[in-house]
């Protein structure tokens, strides 16, 4: 590791050194010779990491295109004739579309409601310097870390009594609540980065605080809102325990569907693989489109503090 990872920092140094005109005590030639070798090794390691990262998905993607007899064979059959049979079974006979639509519906509604509720609160928390704001933030931090079960268990008990069990309304309400602390923290960071002079000058011109927030701050916070939306949607799309406990048939989301399906029918492995691919593709596509926002969200707040 020592020899191979040497590069990144050298590279950094090279940049800074160049600008400040302080050269390291090494000859130019020996430096460029090691550079080429180290560069190759670093890129090889990165390629290996990338391969390990997506390898299982490639394997499953191939399986989804195989006939069962090829899918269950090791050593692997590489020169198979691809077939969409598994996808046909999945979408036509297993009602995958229904679960996908339900998951998307739950995800989108959770995202919209989460942002509508969290954005004003996050803005207020970024501007209000009284100690009660701190307590709300600390409470949110604790909620963010809580195990789902501690919150979901009473919902299960009450929902079965009231008939809300297995409905989208309950699922969305719980998802919004569980995601609220995270969304508040994320958005607060973005709002804190917007200078207060912006809305203050608008308020001097006669805007109310609410108007200033709606007309001046929200438009500027666009990228932050998109980041929060991507994350909230991801959390809702990925969630397993909440729908597992609170749904049974009509409000079931994809992670629960796939987990159940795969433990019950492992002999349908190509079909399960097709399900995994069908579930992963939209979300991977979304992430490729929104990589910038995802990276912004993941690193928000971590580098400032």
């Amino acid at each position: 590791m020592t020899a191979t990872a040497q590069h990144p920092v050298d590279q950094n140094l090279k940049r800074t050194v160049r600008t400040t005109a302080v050269r390291p005590m090494r000859t130019r030639r020996s430096r460029s010779a090691t550079t080429a070798l180290q560069k190759t090794i670093a890129y090889l390691l990165l390629s290996l990491a990338g391969l390990l990262s997506i390898g299982p998905f490639v394997w499953v993607g191939l399986a989804s295109l195989k006939r069962p007899v090829d899918a269950f064979s090791l050593p692997p059959v590489w020169d198979f004739t691809p077939t969409l049979q598994a996808y046909q079974i999945l979408w036509n006979d297993r009602g995958f579309g229904h679960f996908l639509l339900n998951t998307l519906l739950v995800g989108v509604l959770t995202t919209v409601i989460s942002l509508l509720v969290a954005a004003p609160a996050a803005y207020a928390l970024s501007r209000f310097r009284h100690v009660s704001g701190l307590w709300i933030l600390l409470a949110a931090l604790v909620f963010r870390a809580l195990p789902r079960m501690a919150v979901v268990l009473p919902f299960y008990y009450l929902a079965r009594l009231t008939g809300l069990y297995d409905t989208q309304v309950l699922l969305i309400a719980v998802l919004v609540a569980v995601n609220q602390p995270f969304t508040i923290w994320l958005l607060r960071d973005f709002f804190a980065g917007i200078p207060e002079e912006l809305e203050e000058s608008a308020m001097v011109d006669g805007c109310s605080r609410i108007q200033a927030f709606r007309r001046i701050i929200l438009p500027v916070a666009g990228p932050g809102l998109v980041t929060a939306a991507v994350f909230t949607f991801l959390l809702a799309y990925q969630e397993y325990m909440i729908p597992l406990v609170l749904t049974q048939t009509s409000a079931v989301t994809l992670p629960v569907f796939i987990a159940q399906f795969s433990t019950e029918n492992i002999q349908d492995w190509p079909v399960i693989s097709a399900a995994a691919v069908s579930l992963a593709l939209p979300i991977v596509g979304l992430v490729m489109l929104a990589q910038r926002f995802l990276v912004a969200g993941l690193t928000a707040g971590s580098t400032k503090g």
Binding site: L146, P147, L254, L286
Partner: protein, 288 residues
């Protein structure tokens, strides 16, 4: 900002969290003092559930597994995540391609990632490609029927799926490491390892704390991946605290005992959070 404005803007969120999080949490505390299952009425038993749990070997073994899992995943994520960040920081040209590949497991739902990862190591039905490659190399590990194998499988799955989070955080940090101390160190003849140890790592210490905190919190409440790979086996040796709570509540229908189990996990997590809460409070005070 005036208090009236703050109240107006923050109220919906605060009310929502009070009704949908604080109230259920308090309910869980009450439920944990009762004996009941779905459909039966509550029967007050006081602290009996807690006493029963604290004395049960199942809780001890699940606590042991959870602690091992937390330590294993967090250590690996810190080391490998930092190494990946160094590599990514260097690979300027193709960075977004590599980042894209690394992000795929992170955005796929953990259950699905765990299912896929588990299949790669199955030995029984001809779907385990990695297991096949390992066998070719003469390595034969029982990932599902031996305890060390099952723990390694779960740790590996978690690291595989979440590593890019740590890598991204460290990468963001590396890009803002101040240049002057590095130059000085280089002029003084510090080698690569010394520069990492005395300049880069101290300047990223806040990020190491942040990444470990996130990893500890998430690993402490691990459930999804266990439910769909080892199912807690072999012999219950990979049952995490949350998995045990789920099993007790919904498979054995002892909702009171399950509530108590959840509350014990809550207490554990809050204790782990204390340093982070103190840090946040200090930052807030300084900003004010």
């Amino acid at each position: 900002m005036k208090r009236r404005e703050f109240t107006l803007l923050a109220a919906p969120s605060v009310v929502l969290m009070t009704v949908l999080m604080i109230a259920p949490l308090v309910t869980t505390v009450v439920l944990s003092l009762n004996q009941f299952s779905y459909g039966t009425s509550l029967k007050w038993v006081g602290l009996k559930n807690y006493a029963q749990l604290l004395a049960s070997p199942e809780l001890h073994s699940s606590l042991l597994f959870t602690v091992l899992f937390v330590i294993g995943t967090t250590t690996l994520k810190l080391f490998l995540g930092f190494a990946l960040a160094l590599l990514l920081n260097f690979a300027v040209r193709a960075r977004s391609v590599f980042l894209g590949a690394l992000l795929v497991p992170l955005v796929v739902p953990p259950v699905v990632g765990a299912l896929i990862y588990g299949w790669m190591f199955r030995e029984d039905i001809g779907v385990g490609f990695y297991q096949y490659l390992l066998t070719l190399m003469g390595i034969n590990i029982e990932w599902f029927s031996s305890t060390p194998g099952a723990i390694a499988l779960l740790v590996g799955q978690n690291v595989w799926q979440d590593i890019s989070f740590a890598a991204l955080i460290f990468l963001a940090g590396l890009q803002v490491v101040p240049a002057e101390p590095l130059e000085a160190a280089l002029v003084d003849g510090a080698n690569w390892l010394q520069r990492q140890r005395y300049i880069i790592m101290p300047s990223l210490s806040g990020l190491f704390a942040f990444v470990s905190m996130m990893s500890v919190m998430d690993s402490f409440r691990i459930f999804d991946s266990i439910a769909v790979t080892t199912g807690g086996g072999p012999n219950g040796t990979t049952e995490s605290l949350m998995f045990l709570a789920y099993k007790v509540s919904f498979q054995q229908s002892q909702l009171g005992l399950g509530s108590a189990m959840s509350m014990l996990t809550v207490i554990g997590i809050v204790l782990l959070l204390v340093p982070f809460l103190v840090l946040t409070k200090r930052q807030f005070r300084n900003a004010r």
